[in-house]
């Protein structure tokens, strides 16, 4: 079972992601801040992280940079309420981008695609 870390400062969104992704067969952990996410990343291993770009007083991009640096084998999907994230070149480090929506179909498909790609890479020994 793939483990996914969801990072979002909104409790309801964390809950929604957890419900929906669990239904999809993933094991889901959530974090409300960069610090909490860092802590969980140190404690457990995850197959994928779903990050909100705009956390309360923090930037999801900074967390993304940290993950890429320390856990380069873990793919990251960025979520945002606003598509302007593409203007920040650091955001290009992410494996995928999804605009937040009540319809999680796109996010779920991206998770599948990114995980499949990771598995392919692993199989190829990269």
């Amino acid at each position: 079972m793939n483990r996914i870390l969801v990072v979002d400062d909104e409790a309801n969104i964390r809950l929604l992601y957890a419900e929906e992704l669990t239904d999809e067969g993933y094991e889901v952990a959530t974090a409300a801040s960069t610090a909490e996410a860092t802590e969980k990343l140190q404690q457990q291993s995850f197959d994928l992280a779903v990050l909100d770009i705009k956390l309360k007083n923090e930037s999801g991009i900074e967390l993304l940079q940290k993950i890429v640096k320390e856990r380069h084998d873990m793919p990251v999907i960025l979520c945002s309420a606003f598509s302007c994230y593409k203007d920040d070149f650091s955001a290009w480090l992410a494996d995928s981008y999804v605009v937040k929506s009540g319809d999680l179909t796109e996010l779920k498909e991206e998770i599948k695609r990114v995980l499949a790609k990771k598995a392919q890479r692993k199989a190829a020994g990269l």
């Binding site: 309801n12 606003f82 203007d87 009540g102 999680l104």
Partner: protein, 546 residues
């Protein structure tokens, strides 16, 4: 001479009172002279043959006063002739002064170059003016490098002369009316008629040996005679005019060489006298000033027009600035609101979906949950639209093939076109240069305009074309099926305004904002009964970018 009863005089000078018929020199209106001997003698007897014979008889009589009388008579006749000559000269000068006054009034009151020229040339050639046959006007160009034939007036043949002069003689018009009629009816025809000569009357103002330039240099009119054999006259000029004698009238105003008039008697071959030259010379000063003033006025008008155009552009820029500020404000507000709305909306929609999944098909609450899902979805779509609007602030440009862009966009909306049973005709121009644009944004705008046009209307006609407009590639979208009022057109371009015909104004306002960020004007016009036309002019060079 005394009244000797023995002498029978032939003339009636010796009688105080005479009867009608006694003096053959009295005519109608001379009744007063029948009883006034002194006036009759002074006014009539001098020219009377009978009196002349009486005088001869008196001189032959040997009377001692006869030689003295002869001296007085001769002196009187000479003075009388002189007075008559002066009177005639005075009459001529009075007419000339009146004419010059009329001419001056017309010239001073006009700032219209064509009118001034018409008056000047009519004055030279009309019988009431200087009565010359033809006149050619040469004007200095703006840089004052060349004199160029500008206008000519007069007949080219004896037949035409007879006809024209007859018309003028019978019309009884004053100078102003004559020149007005000339300007209205004949000016361009005369110009065309003399075009062959005017086109060849080009003289360098640096050619100081040319007789016309020389006349301008000396600021003196010139009576040119024996032109065909005159070493001072350019043979080409003599050949062009086809006359042996002509006048050159330099036009000088405030020491500036304005031009020159050449005038001649091409038809009548009447000699031109020094008196003619002196008369016309006085006329050239007001003409030169009037031409200079009218030319300056014309240039002033051009400058005023430029200023007005600059003002209009400035006004447009100000309006644009206000509009852009409004747009930018709308952008900031919408992106801020969107951020705050997106998360709760996502939660509402997301959980509604989750609940819906877990709700049995026959549960009556399913409809309510369905509604929540649908409404949340619709709100998300509106939010996306608003956010795209804010997103338009940062275009990424490159060189793209415009025809390909339009074709791709048309393919994207093909399904909608078919569903609405719309007819779409595309007329791409060949050989267009690549446009320097943000492909994604431009394509989005064209698609939105096309969809907005098709939306809500069936069986319509849409024509799309591309063409080169100066240095820009223009995309024209002609919606032949709609009619919009001015208010509706304004609403169409205002964010969040609604038009009865085409729904929310956000889409088109968004497109305009997106394009304006790339310095691409989007013009929408809706002439009455001619549909709606959208024009997008794309730059083809990087320098055109803001």
């Amino acid at each position: 001479m005394e009244n000797d009863t023995a002498t029978q005089w032939e003339c009636c000078w010796d009688r105080d009172q005479i009867q009608v018929g006694d003096c053959p020199n009295l005519g109608e209106g001379d009744e007063d002279l029948l009883s006034s001997r002194s006036r009759r003698v002074l006014e009539k007897c001098c020219n009377c043959e009978k009196f002349k014979r009486d005088l001869e008889r008196f001189y032959a009589s040997g009377h001692p006063l006869a030689p003295m009388f002869s001296i007085l008579d001769e002196g009187y006749r000479r003075q009388r002739s002189h007075i008559q000559s002066l009177s005639s000269f005075l009459d001529t000068k009075t007419l000339e002064t009146r004419f010059m006054h009329e001419l001056g009034s017309v010239l001073q009151s006009s700032v219209d170059l064509e009118e001034v020229l018409s008056v000047a040339l009519t004055a030279i050639t009309s019988g009431k003016g200087f009565g010359m046959n033809r006149a050619f006007l040469l004007l200095a160009d703006k840089e004052r490098h060349f004199l160029r034939g500008h206008l000519a007036i007069g007949p080219r043949s004896a037949e035409e002369a007879g006809q024209t002069w007859h018309e003028v003689a019978t019309s009884d018009l004053d100078l102003q009316s004559l020149s007005h009629a000339f300007r209205q009816n004949k000016l361009s025809a005369e110009r065309d008629k003399f075009q062959d000569i005017l086109a060849r009357l080009v003289i360098s103002m640096d050619d100081i040996h040319h007789i016309i330039v020389s006349s301008l240099e000396e600021k003196k009119p010139l009576l040119v005679q024996n032109a065909f054999h005159n070493p001072d006259v350019d043979p080409e000029l003599a050949r062009l005019l086809g006359v042996d004698t002509f006048l050159i009238l330099p036009l000088i105003a405030r020491n500036r060489r304005v031009g020159a008039i050449l005038t001649d008697n091409f038809i009548t071959r009447q000699p031109i006298t020094d008196e003619d030259l002196r008369s016309i010379e006085t006329f050239t000063f007001p003409v030169a000033f009037a031409i200079e003033r009218a030319s300056l006025y014309e240039r002033l008008q051009v400058e005023v027009a430029k200023l007005q155009e600059a003002n209009r552009k400035l006004q447009e820029q100000q309006e644009l600035l206000v509009k852009m500020e409004k747009m930018a404000l709308v952008g900031r507000i919408t992106s801020s609101i969107a951020h705050s709305i997106r998360n709760p909306l996502m939660v509402i929609g997301g959980f509604a979906r989750s609940i819906l999944k877990a709700t049995p098909q026959n549960d009556p609450k399913r409809d309510f949950i369905d509604s929540i899902v649908a409404e949340a979805h619709q709100m998300e779509e509106v939010l996306d639209e608003i956010l795209t609007y804010s997103d338009a602030l940062y275009p990424i440009r490159d060189f793209w093939d415009v025809n390909q862009l339009v074709e791709t966009t048309l393919r994207e909306i093909q399904d909608k076109v078919i569903t609405q049973n719309y007819t779409c005709r595309y007329h791409p121009a060949d050989g267009l240069p690549a446009a320097y644009i943000d492909y994604k944004q431009t394509s989005y705008c064209i698609r939105n305009i096309l969809l907005g046009t098709i939306d809500g209307l069936e069986n319509g006609l849409l024509e799309i074309s591309t063409r080169l407009e100066g240095e820009r590639v223009e995309i024209l979208i002609d919606d032949r099926s709609r009619r919009l009022s001015e208010d509706e057109l304004e609403a169409l371009l205002t964010p969040f305004a609604e038009t009865h015909e085409m729904g929310s104004g956000l889409n088109l306002a968004l497109c305009r904002n997106m394009l304006e960020k790339q310095n691409i004007p989007l013009l929408v016009v809706a002439p009455p009964d001619a549909g709606v036309r959208y024009s997008i002019k794309l730059p083809t060079r990087k320098e055109e970018q803001p």
